[in-house]
Symmetry: C2
Subunit: 301 residues, 2 copies
């Protein structure tokens, strides 16, 4: 999906909501788990996802299954993940599919991961961890219409352990501009990410193959990030259960293409644990979409 298509979907649906499919058999309605015991071939993870997708699709523009929840069930989990992606591609081709995998390995291994997610699974985007540097990230870049979402400033408490510390390049790289030296680790990640994106891009432009993860809990740091990355989309987890504020994110993180994909997982998909779970999830998604519609109107008129 191109940047333009994504922005069109946001405008048409008046939403920049991503629904996180963190599907945990301990939290899905018991009726699904019971049915799986009685009915051979009934896949409770996929059936939960399918019902959530059918109910919430009018209110969101993206889905983000986190791989951890699928791997937790081994082979069965992978089958459910693949079925979910296929279901989305077959029935909702305008939904942006993010594999929240946080992968990253040496070059030839990252290349394999990229091929798996983009060619085999056919997702639109993969989250990637930056710790191993350039050759761990670039194999994911340069697939037309596909996106790398690089971890920059995450929503969790541990984001303060390394990401927000000042980073100084070694002395032998003295040719770097002086200002670089006062940047924090996550800001270096944002800078370097753009250099890598530029090199991998056929027209040398940025913002069409790379996004960054920035937690909703990070408040005014969004303003610092917009100085470094004015044109990029940011994937923003952490509203809802993790406590981030949609208003604050939009205040500091907005750009001329909206520039935000805001994720909510638990607050939507586990809003109800009865057989009415899908309807309640739809209501919750619609509530967020309504807030987003109001923000979109206020920003564009």
């Amino acid at each position: 999906m191109t940047r333009e298509q994504l922005f069109e979907n946001i405008q048409r649906k008046e939403s920049f909501l991503c629904v996180g499919l963190d599907t945990d058999l301990k939290k899905v309605p018991q009726c699904l788990v019971e049915r799986a015991k009685q009915e051979e071939g009934f896949d409770p993870i996929f059936e939960f996802n399918k019902a959530i997708i059918d109910a919430t699709a009018p209110y969101c523009i993206a889905y983000k299954p986190n791989l951890a929840f699928y791997e937790a069930h081994g082979v069965k989990g992978w089958i459910a993940f693949e079925k979910t992606v296929k279901y989305l591609n077959d029935n909702y081709p305008d939904q942006f599919i993010i594999a929240d995998a946080k992968r990253g390995d040496i070059g030839n291994t990252s290349k394999l991961y990229a091929r798996t997610f983009f060619e085999e699974m056919n997702v639109d985007a993969v989250t990637v961890a930056p710790y191993m540097g350039e050759d761990s990230v670039t194999p994911f870049l340069g697939y037309p219409g596909k996106w790398v979402i690089l971890l920059a400033l995450t929503s969790n408490k541990g984001s303060a352990d390394f990401q927000t510390h000042l980073l100084t390049p070694p002395a032998n790289e003295g040719s770097e501009p002086r200002e670089e030296k006062s940047l924090r680790l996550f800001e270096h990640v944002i800078r370097r990410g753009q250099e890598w994106e530029k090199e991998a891009s056929p027209d040398g432009k940025v913002g069409s193959g790379l996004m960054y993860v920035v937690g909703a809990t990070q408040g005014s740091a969004f303003a610092d990030i917009r100085r470094l990355a004015p044109h990029h989309f940011l994937l923003v987890p952490g509203i809802g259960a993790q406590g981030g504020s949609l208003e604050e994110v939009c205040k500091y993180g907005w750009n001329d293409h909206c520039g935000l994909i805001v994720n909510s997982s638990r607050a939507i998909i586990y809003a109800d644990a009865t057989e009415h779970f899908a309807e309640v999830a739809a209501e919750k998604a619609r509530e967020v979409q309504q807030q987003m519609a109001a923000i979109l109107r206020s920003k564009t008129h």
Copy 2:
């Protein structure tokens, strides 16, 4: 597996070799791929691994399947991965099994990954990426006999993009000792990792539940690492195909418990592409083991 059992295995087998099971269907002998086409139920990935394990087990003390190679084949790959781990646990209980997964996510998601790898899969160790900080790593700690292997200074070129840069904690953490300020990112990871390990350990000791990944290509950096982590095992990829030197690694990285698990993947498992691949892999593994035996004898006598 405890630290003592691991060291006993190293002494008994005179080896600290880990064989990397980076099994790629494009590189395994064609005879296996052909047989898979003719014989229903024949799993070429697992059969390759099984033959490699049976041939090389006398010469190594650990196996490290990299998850990327299994995920690349989707559900089939996961089945092969699970069968491989089960085969090792059933037939070679003294082999240390490392899931090279480089995972790391917010606390509740890392908890799921830890449960998957340690309780469901029953591997001995998982590689974990440190970028997301404390709550992304600690859920993997505190499983008795299980290990976190934290990425510190990796073997690839991109390790110089962030890992070797000086990191300065923010000013409001002024209570930290001054010397901290001259440490590089990977050194902070090593320091903080030990603090987390200490907190998670029932006796407050370190070195029995945490290791670090340090690339063989990093040469004398091993001496800096030993100053910060004298007691920890280091998992060392990068000899063989990536060009690191076993002698240099041992010169700078050795401790009183050997303290090194040295991985070789491609140079062993793909040494031969005919039906004799397993015998040739055994020869290559034996060659490395012989070098290791000589080093072990020189260090302990």
